[in-house]
């Protein structure tokens, strides 16, 4: 069917995955309060997974729906649908690694899974929006849910601290974002991305409001993707939050911000590329350098992975700076691979920590590989993929981003990317080195007792399989990604940029 938004009903169709997931999330919430039975926690998780599966079906169905024109508030294009796959996969994997954790930590299961569902709804809205107001709405939906998730473990003061810091700084940054949107509206007279693009083409950038608006918008998003120097909240929030939530924040939440960022920059603000190019150039370079350098000196694996996620944000920013189809496809591919790899790595962290926040020091991984060969091997695989080792998905992802950057002649950023990647091998392989090359200290025997939950094994195998598949046979995934960015840029006739 074709949507033209002549009737409100069309909005419901266009937002079908969001609706399904939202209603399902409310169902999980109500199912949780209707029984006070403590033993029902895992069932709520499975229910949430079923809801996600239904949303995935709806997302797949949307491929058969087309829209007339490409200017409506809600986009039904492949870019959005690909992003939705990333969010759904990220959320599903997060829920799967949370099942045992939530029971063990006696968290409020219904609220926990419902918040993940609601945050995912927000991400999908973000990916679907062609209007700055909807972007803001979606971003806030995500943020508020994730503030609560970060502070979810009420018995742990560090979790509360993480949530509070994230909330305070996030609200601060949202203010900038909203102010930027307001200024752009003031300059362009509309919050619709295409209308903004047309206005820019007609000279709206000269008015003195557009450029500061763009700058504030960029800083707001730079905060959401934790780019340097707006990254300060990230390590504290990631370290304090419950580990599965950290996985979710580092993967899906970041992906949502990048998807929205890409659409706004490529579609709405393409006409002022020359103005945002230097800002993002420097932010990307600084993010790669600082993220990687500070990761080197971390002693907690969660904090190390937090800085690593900052660094990966830097690589993804390079794709934004390149601003061509190859880089956009690389961005999507990268987000998918990175999401899967990150959740996989955190699945191991959760398991090593025995479904709690113990043993997050990297020293605790000494000798772990020999004790738990399957987990150790997969963790090594994930770390290698994060570092971008050939044969893993991480390598192909970096490769495609580099290809886009090379097409845009961003040689210096390329050099920074490659050099900082080399630095990153150090701290990734350090964990592997502890796992395989160091003997566990005497007496500090890992309590292997208690089998690894079944769901974690499934997650690990799925993640490992995807990492290897995208590394060895990236053809299908990159084809999908390349097909998903067709027409993302230059929708407005005659706005081919000069660069």
């Amino acid at each position: 069917m074709t949507l033209d938004y002549s009737s409100s009903f069309h909005y419901l169709v266009a937002l079908l995955p969001e609706c399904v997931l939202f209603v399902g999330g409310m169902g999980v919430l109500l199912a949780g309060v209707s029984k006070t039975d403590e033993q029902r926690r895992p069932e709520l998780g499975w229910l949430a997974l079923a809801v996600l599966a239904a949303a995935a079906v709806a997302n797949g169905w949307l491929y058969s729906v087309s829209e007339s024109g490409a200017t409506a508030m809600i986009a039904v294009d492949k870019f959005r649908l690909f992003a939705n796959w990333v969010f759904i996969v990220g959320a599903a994997l997060t829920i799967a690694i949370s099942l045992a954790y939530v029971s063990r930590q006696r968290l409020q299961a219904a609220e926990y899974y419902a918040l993940i569902a609601f945050a995912t709804v927000g991400m999908m809205v973000v990916a679907a929006s062609r209007d700055l107001m909807i972007v803001f709405l979606g971003m806030e939906t995500v943020s508020i849910a994730v503030y609560a998730l970060a502070a979810f473990n009420r018995r742990d003061p560090r979790s509360a601290e993480a949530g509070l810091k994230y909330f305070l700084l996030g609200a601060f940054a949202s203010g900038f974002l909203l102010f930027g949107i307001a200024l752009i509206y003031g300059a362009a007279g509309s919050t619709n991305l295409q209308a903004i693009a047309v206005a820019v083409q007609d000279g709206a950038a000269a008015g003195g409001l557009m450029i500061p608006g763009m700058a504030l918008l960029v800083t707001g998003f730079a905060f959401k993707v934790s780019a340097v120097p707006f990254h300060m909240w990230t390590p504290d929030a990631y370290e304090g939050a419950p580990t599965p939530v950290t996985a979710y924040m580092a993967s899906a939440v970041k992906a949502a911000a990048f998807v929205a960022f890409a659409r706004i920059l490529f579609v709405g603000l393409d006409g002022v590329y020359d103005q945002w190019f230097p800002i993002l150039w420097w932010i990307a370079a600084a993010t790669m350098v600082v993220g990687n350098l500070v990761a080197v000196v971390q002693s907690s694996i969660k904090r190390m992975l937090a800085y690593s996620s900052i660094a990966h944000g830097g690589y993804l920013l390079v794709a934004l700076v390149a601003a061509n189809d190859a880089a956009a496809a690389g961005l999507l591919f990268y987000l998918f691979v990175y999401t899967v790899t990150t959740v996989g790595a955190f699945a191991v962290v959760v398991t090593v920590g025995r479904q709690s926040e113990r043993d997050t020091a990297i020293e605790k991984y000494a000798g772990y590989g020999w004790r738990r060969p399957v987990l150790g091997t997969l963790m090594t695989l994930f770390l290698l993929s994060l570092a971008g080792f050939p044969g893993t998905g991480g390598f192909m992802a970096k490769f495609y981003v580099l290809q886009g950057a090379a097409e845009a002649h961003l040689w210096w950023l390329l050099v920074v990317l490659v050099l900082t990647t080399l630095v990153s091998y150090w701290y990734y392989l350090r964990v592997a080195w502890f796992m395989w090359m160091k003997e566990a200290p005497e007496g500090a025997v890992h309590r292997v007792g208690g089998a690894t939950p079944f769901a974690i094994y499934v997650v690990l195998l799925v993640c490992g399989g995807i990492v290897l598949a995208t590394g060895l046979l990236p053809g299908a995934a990159i084809d999908l990604a390349q097909g998903s960015v067709e027409g993302l840029r230059h929708w407005v006739a005659g706005t081919a940029p000069a660069h």
Partner: protein
């Protein structure tokens, strides 16, 4: 276009001058003869004991949040209700869904015991 904002600017200026002027004027003009009685927090009142940062029960927050939610609901519903007939079915469905979502929230709060004081 910018000229139409000039009255706004004038009002802004007048109000700032007014507020600052009154505060400064009272400080400058009134005579200052402090005595120990005058320096007390409540002149001629009780001397306060204990910390000013008293804790409130979480129950007050629960009520406050519920109040704000339904307050906002009213803000959304009234403009719609005024023009309901002209707007037709589309907005009706939208408002209906909005109320349903709120109802789910209320049901959740109820079951959680958020409406009970004790």
């Amino acid at each position: 276009m910018a000229t139409s904002y000039i009255p706004l600017l004038i009002i802004l200026g007048v109000s700032v001058v007014n507020a600052v002027g009154m505060a400064v004027a009272s400080h400058v003009l009134n005579p200052s003869r402090p005595t120990p009685q005058k320096a007390m927090p409540y002149e001629s009142g009780m001397i306060p004991l204990g910390d000013t940062r008293a804790r409130f029960s979480i129950k007050f927050y629960m009520v406050a949040i519920s109040f704000i939610v339904f307050d906002l609901e009213a803000i959304f519903l009234i403009p719609w209700a005024v023009r309901m007939r002209e707007l037709g079915w589309g907005p009706f469905v939208a408002v209906f869904l909005f109320v349903v979502v709120l109802a789910v929230g209320l049901a959740y709060e109820w079951k959680k015991g958020g409406l009970e004081w004790d």
